[in-house]
Structures are given as structure tokens and as C-alpha cells.
Symmetry: C2
Subunit: 341 residues, 2 copies
């Protein structure tokens, strides 16, 4: 039996796990990432953590390697971080080569959203799906695609910016420079913004009361209010659902993928936003309806909640070296005319 190490390097947490090739979690190691102490310190911590787990399990198991999920754009060919907002000093540093030389075993770097999609495909909601789109509703809205069993990076590793698909013409301005982006309606940040505006306006006594009782109106508190029957809170999740349904309808119409998985913290409010999401998707997507009307069940477009929660990225990261074992071409970038270097 083999095992691999998965690493989920966040802006605030560093998590490391040893995972059997069956998907069984053997052990996890969590620490806050001391990002402020610099790249070298973080890499030292990470390698120590990995080595501890490798040492512990390599007596019983064959060690395949390490997968590292990083919140940024990865240059797969060079094993470097092209850009990562929360890890400024990691840019253009040979991360993969450095970790690999310390561990003496294969290391695969991957974007964290892609790791989460891979995790859900391997052990979560999208088992057996050859193709899927994962939408992560968190502080922002991220996304990832798997086509023909492989992660889809796009030309410069930027595929999956689903949060910046425009869903409302002339909608609110987004930090990306666009208007009416999905992220402005379906992220935890957007929910907080909409709830705070409603509480301030005087038209939402329930939310105003909740704001008085809590430091701030988090997406979780707004969801609780919706569950308790607050109409304004319900309307906010209606807005989340309509925006998400609109973006999904465009994706389903364009790509006709078999599966769409909704993850991230906001997905916990599934019961509050999914009816509006499905209603909008059904209304706007001729391809969704066509699949539904076909006689065989397996032609239906599946839209479902993620099931692995915050562990999806960790599990997907551990999957990377296992895929490397099966094929050296677990992913590929698209190129036009000239190969990206």
C-alpha cells in the first residue's frame, strides 16, 4: 500500500496530511502559517511537518510524494509561484525544486482551488465524474475545472475565475475592474455587505437586532436569520441563488459538463440559496433542461454541494503525486503557437 502527503498552504493556516492511496486519512498536522516570518521559515516548517509524517508512515507504506496546494497562480513547468496575493515573497522562487531537494521525493505544486476540485472528484461529491466544474463560495468566489479527468489550467494558469463572470449588467463595481461580477452577489463578503446595508437602512429590523447582538453580520448569522424566517435575510440568499444560477446557466450552456459542485463556507447555506439557483438555472439553460428531459438519468447535469468541506484541498493535494504515478501528464496547459515557458 502507498501513501502521499498533501499540504494546504493558506494565508493563515498550514495543514499537512498523510493519506493512503485508498483516500483514508492517516494523520493530519495543523499549524498557523507564520507567513510574516518569510518564505524560508514557512518552507522549513512545511518540510519538517512533511518529514515527520513520512518518517512515521514509511515503515508501513510506500511513500509516493507530496502535493502542495497554494493560493495563487502556479507555473507548472518551472514549479514556481507566478503570483500569490498572500505570499508576496514566494514569487518566482523555485518552490518545487527547493522542497523536492529537501525531501528527496516528487513534489507537485497546484493551485488550491484546483486541489479542492481534485479532492471532491477523488473522495467527495464528484467521484467518478470525468469532468466537473467546482465553484467555491468563500470570502471571494473561485472556481476550477476538470476536463477529461485532468485539471484545466488554461493558457496562463488563470482558468476558473468564475467569480468574475458578470451576472448583472451594470451591477455593482468589482475589485477586478468589472461590474456585476458573481463575487459581488454570492461570496460571504457580498452577503455581509448586503446584510449590513439592509440593517443600516432601517428596513430590516431582524438583521439590525442581530447586528446589535453580534460584532458583525457574518454570512453565517445572516443564514441563521434566514432559517428563523427573516424575510430580508431570505431575500439576500435569493439574490445569492439567482446570481449563482445565472453563472451556472452560462457555464452549462457553454460547456455541458456532467457535474457542478458548489463548495466553500457559503455552501453551508445551501437550503437558503439553492431553490433560487435551480429555478434560475432551469429558466436560463436550454442545455440543463435538455439533459433533464432525456429519458436516461445519467444525461442530467448534476449540481450538488461539495461534501469534503475545508479538507477538499488537503485531500486533492495528496492525490497529485498519486496521479503522477499513473501518468506523467496529469495536467496540461493550452498553448497558442508558442509553448509557454
Amino acid at each position: 500500500m502507498s501513501f502521499a502527503i498533501g499540504v494546504d498552504l493558506g494565508g493563515t493556516n498550514l495543514r499537512i496530511a498523510a493519506i493512503e492511496e485508498t483516500g483514508k486519512l492517516l494523520e493530519t498536522f495543523n499549524t498557523t502559517t507564520p507567513v510574516k516570518r518569510g518564505r524560508d521559515f514557512v518552507i522549513d516548517e512545511m518540510c519538517l511537518g512533511i518529514q515527520g509524517l513520512v518518517h512515521k508512515f514509511s515503515h508501513t507504506y510506500h511513500f509516493l510524494g507530496t502535493g502542495v496546494g497554494i493560493p495563487g497562480i502556479i507555473e507548472m513547468e518551472t514549479g514556481t509561484v507566478h503570483s500569490a496575493a498572500n505570499l508576496p515573497d514566494w514569487k518566482d522562487y523555485p518552490v518545487k525544486a527547493e522542497i523536492q531537494s529537501r525531501l528527496g521525493a516528487p513534489v507537485v505544486l497546484e493551485n488550491d482551488a484546483n486541489c479542492a476540485a481534485l479532492g471532491e472528484k477523488w473522495m467527495g461529491a464528484a467521484r467518478n465524474a470525468d469532468g466537473l466544474c467546482m465553484v467555491t463560495l468563500g470570502t471571494g468566489v473561485g472556481g476550477a475545472f476538470i476536463f477529461r479527468k485532468k485539471i484545466w489550467h488554461g493558457m496562463i494558469g488563470m482558468a476558473g475565475e468564475i467569480g468574475h463572470m458578470s451576472v448583472v449588467s451594470h451591477g455593482p463595481a468589482c475589485g477586478c475592474g468589472g461590474r456585476g461580477c458573481l463575487e459581488q452577489f454570492a461570496s460571504a463578503t457580498a452577503i455581509r455587505r448586503m446584510a449590513a446595508a439592509a440593517a443600516r437602512s432601517g428596513s430590516a429590523p431582524g438583521l439590525a437586532r442581530a447586528l446589535n447582538e453580534n460584532q458583525e453580520l457574518t454570512a453565517k448569522i445572516v443564514f441563521q436569520q434566514a432559517v428563523l424566517g427573516d424575510q430580508v435575510a431570505r431575500q439576500i440568499f435569493e439574490t445569492v441563488g439567482v446570481a449563482l444560477g445565472t453563472a451556472l446557466a452560462s457555464l452549462v450552456n457553454a460547456l455541458n459538463l456532467p457535474m457542478y459542485v458548489i463548495g466553500g463556507g457559503v455552501a453551508n447555506a445551501w437550503t437558503a440559496f439553492s431553490p433560487a439557483m435551480f429555478r434560475e438555472l432551469e429558466k436560463q439553460s436550454v442545455v440543463f433542461r435538455a439533459g433533464k428531459n432525456m429519458q436516461t438519468h445519467h444525461n442530467r447535469t448534476m449540481v450538488t454541494r461539495a461534501v469534503l468541506g475545508s479538507e477538499a484541498g488537503l485531500i486533492g493535494a495528496a492525490r497529485l503525486p498519486m496521479m503522477l504515478k499513473d501518468s506523467h501528464d496529469y495536467c496540461s496547459r493550452e498553448t497558442a503557437a508558442v509553448q509557454m515557458c
Copy 2:
């Protein structure tokens, strides 16, 4: 040297070509498709045309097979037409097996929009691009994707319904059941509709005059008016460009493909709509801007006109049996849980 036959079966025209494996067009044969005389008659005509060309060139060249582009959803596995609006009696008929038995050589069926994308990739605007999205602006708006050099069919062969991506929230109702679909703004039909409404309203004297001089305001006439400086006609193509730019921005943000090719009759009005299209794309797509700001030219997202015009489909169809020669897996569908049968 080898050659293949490409067939472009439209609702009104049947075109057949013999094409060298270098892409050189050896001979074409055009006829109006006698669709009304029924499937068997059309297939007889088609096979006669193919056999004539095969007979003529197989003395000099090695014959590889025939590719047939059909305006409908193809079931690749069974070689049947799942649905085709203009060819009602073709549904569930074993088209591939029938033609193959008559010709005694491999036959590949493919959706016509996918053939056009393949044609542009092989001999047109997208040469050397491993991945591309083609948008066809005709009577309707169609689309096709090539990922990792292969046509992307989606789960039930319906990928590419780009015309039904919503670009204007609460916009005009579309025949598909949705609202504000791209097709309602960027098709020849939409241009005719917008121009007729403007001419009727009394606010567009130039278009009203053009309508008096012609039987109807075709997209071509509206374009001519725009070129002559008519402000209303210009505004219509501004609307086309903004809608197309909005849809492209969503696709570029989601997929980060290297190339987007705009074809179909309306693409002839490129000078009239492309400035607004690029402006909107730049404004709405963080991924487009990121590629543009990278130092190397080949990281840029290319958006360009198709160059093969109405021959793209014919050329792409002929490419199909050539790809079959290289690999039996020239395309693949995505499946979830159960294989499509």
C-alpha cells in the same frame, strides 16, 4: 499523399469536397439539399457525390475516409443524429453505418459548428492553437470548443450553446426560454430586429430610407449604413460588440483559453462591432488583462476573425478522417458515473 472527403450538410445546401491531407482543396461539388425529398434521397445524393470525387482522386491519392458535418446533435458512439431541427427524419437513423456500408471506408459524423472550429484550427485563424473557442454569428449564435486539440462535445453533445449565455439581465426573451441571451443581440436576426424597430420608430431616417430601397433590412445592409456613417446603424453594432464582449469576458475569465475565433456572416461587420467588443472584454475580464500585461506576447488571449468563411465546416469535416488516422480517440465525451450509451 492521402486525401479525404468533407461533407457540409446544411438545411439548404449540400456541399462535398475532396481535400488533400495538406489542406489543399482538390475539388468541390455543391448542390441544394433536397431535404424535402427525405433522408434516403439526400443520402443517395451525398453518396453519389462522394463516390464521384473518390473515383476521380483515388488513382493519384490514398483515400482516408469521409467526414460529415450535420447541423444537429450527434451521438458519436452510435453514429446517429440525436436531433437536428432541419432534418427531422434523420433522428435515430444509423447515418454513419449506412454511409459507411455504401462507401466501404471510414465515416465520421460531427456537428457542423464543431467542424467549422476544426477547419479554422487546421487551415484558418487558429492554426497551431491547442485550445480555442469559436463563436459563429449567423442566423443564430453558435459555438464550439477545442480543448487539448480535441473537440469538446460535453456530456450529451450539447457543448457550445454560447448563443444562450445571458448577457443582459432581464433582457429580451429568447426562443430558448431564457432572457437577454447573446443571440438576442449578436445574431443577424437580432440585427435585423433592432434595425427594423429603429426604422419603424421614426428615429432612424437613414435606416428607414434603406428599408424603402430594399425589401428588408438585412444585417449586411445595416452594416453598409454603419460604414456610411449612420449613427443608429453604428449604435446597433455597438450593441452587438458589447454583448459579444460580455460573453467573451465570461468565457475568458472561466476558461483562459488561448484563442477565440469569431465567424459567421455577421463577422463581416468586424470593423463595426469589434471596437466595442474589445473595450467590453478588456473592462470585464481580469484574465484578458492579465495576459495582456504579461511580458511575453504568447500569453495574450487572442480574439480574432475567422478566415475560412463558409468553407470552414467543409474543411473541418474533411479533417475528421485524417484525425482518425492519427488516433482513434480524436474526441471524447465526459461522463458522470455511468457511460453514455
